[in-house]
Amino acid sequence: MNGPVWAVVQQKDGRLQRSGRETIAAAQALARELGTSAEAVLLGDGLAAAGEELKGMALAGARVVEHPRLATYTPGGYVAALVPLVREERPAYVLFPHTYQTVDFMARLAQALDAGLLPEAIAFRRVDGEVRWTRPVLGGKLHAQVRTVGEGTVLVSLQSGAFPADGVEAGSAPLRQVAAAVDGVDLQREVRGFESAGGGAVDLSKAEVIVAVGRGVGGQEKLAPVEELARLLGGELAASRPVVDSGWLPRERQVGSSGQTVAPKLYLALGISGAIQHLVGMKGATAVVAINKDASAPIFKIATWGVAGDLHEIVPALNQALKERAGGA
């Protein structure tokens, strides 16, 4: 008999995080597949409202692990709170959302439990009685099918959006308060506060048209035609992370998991390969034009229109065509 499948989730502003609902949807689907039960673990402080939400989901159990020392995330606190639970109940899988916070402590938890660690899964399926996980490798250029070997619990983190939150099956879950064994443990980090990462001056979320450049643009001195394109389209200029890291454009124009999330009517991706951390920030766009000299770049997997070519040739020609159209109309 398989152990249960757990989803470890958190609340934000009194509601389960969307990533947490996605994790529960995945746990339910995996448990169905394995013929076992799905359960949730809610971790943090001030969890009453989020606990109510869990009650309405098809789960064999929902543990609420509440403690003032868990109000602010620390790796020491979160690992200490989870270790005894997993050790006692021996779930087959513990699923987490692949967030910056879970990535920070998941490996430490796996070590403490001598569990397996499978980061950033985007799908699973059963093959010959075993579970095969899909995870992106090489910047999303390839997808790997991965199986786990050895005995014991496996911790899996799930890429954002891979398992839609609206897939959560409704039902009823018995709620149980569980003591968090975190008094006196070394939190391993002294959190002094939080600050804005320096974005905020530019709000790209309302833009109808976004012209985004990636590393493929090749340098700050090559931005002028792209800037002109943004002007001609009445759109905002945006960038992938390496462009910002290299200082070619300011951080406030970065799109992606550590930048802004945008949903324009049109997103032009110029010299952007389409790594998942970029895609999560822009996949809500209605239409995507991708221009990339590598026809196998993952950006084309989500593009509406694709041009396999050199952006330094296409963009000036596009500017010219737009100017002619404006002049001739």
Partner: protein, 265 residues
């Protein structure tokens, strides 16, 4: 201060990749290998801290023989020594197995601070640094965008990226493992002098048997993950390709933007 920095050699992100004959990884024939992007930033950060504290940087790399080139590059940038873990018994591991080997090698050398990149661009586990910390029993922090050594050199203040445009400001007691995110600094280029000097610097090879770790916990044998196959992703929606010379592509795009995306006034 003695600073260890872990660097991985990865396929050039620009490389055209083909699935290899075994179907489980890429065909490395003709593929250029480079230093993993966030590791370049980790190296720069290590050098800066070493320069401020009058310390030294030791580079650690686990991978096949070609990893030597990556280590040579770090030596050219200013590291004083390097340790190469190229024993076949150490290769093919998941983050747990790889981190275990690196931690054992670092323990032999001793260090006050370990820097790694935030994620490798090939396997992308974003975990190896945390595993090293766990093995050594040290604190760690992932996705670090700022490091400042305390006056007494017993802790570091860090700025850690979070989602939604926020940073966490915290302190971590040394020794610790800091997983550096790309963009934390502007990495230097190797000077000719540095490249020449690197040729004389030591790259020490360490075999699996010298690590003092049970062989069943290292490399492929110690790994809980096994890659069955790799393949091109299947796409949800089919892209509509626009081909032709630049002028033809531009004209076709204008029509799409006007009539279908409806973004032209």
């Amino acid at each position: 201060m003695k600073i260890a920095v872990c660097v991985k050699q990865v396929p050039d992100p620009e490389a055209r990749l083909r699935v290899g004959a075994d179907g489980a990884w890429i065909d490395e024939e003709g593929v250029a290998f480079v230093l993993n992007e966030s590791d370049e930033y980790a190296v720069e950060e290590a050098l800066r801290i070493a320069e401020r504290t009058g310390g030294e940087v030791i580079a650690f790399g686990l991978g096949p023989e070609r990893t030597r080139e990556a280590l040579r590059k770090v030596l050219a940038l200013g590291a004083s020594r390097a340790v190469l873990l190229s024993d076949p018994a150490l290769l093919g591991g998941d983050a747990l197995a790889t981190g275990r080997a690196l931690a054992a090698a670092i323990r032999q050398e001793g260090a006050d601070l370990v820097l790694t990149g935030s994620a490798s661009s090939d396997l992308g586990y974003a975990a190896t640094g945390s595993v090293i910390a766990g093995e050594l029993g040290w604190p760690h922090a992932w996705l670090v965008m700022g490091v400042e050594l305390a006056e007494d050199r017993r802790s570091v203040r860090i700025t850690r990226e979070m989602e939604g445009g926020m940073n966490e400001l915290s302190a971590v007691v040394l020794p610790a493992v800091i997983q550096v995110q790309a963009g934390i600094n502007h990495p230097r280029y190797a000077s000719l002098k540095g490249i020449m000097a690197a040729k004389k610097k030591e790259i020490r090879e360490v075999a699996a048997a010298e690590l003092g770790v049970d062989a069943g916990r290292l490399g492929r044998a110690g790994s809980r993950l096994e890659t069955v196959s790799v393949a091109l992703p299947v796409s949800g929606r089919e892209v509509e390709w626009i081909a032709g010379d630049a002028a033809a592509v531009a004209a076709a795009l204008v029509t799409k933007l006007e009539q279908e995306a409806k973004v032209l006034r």
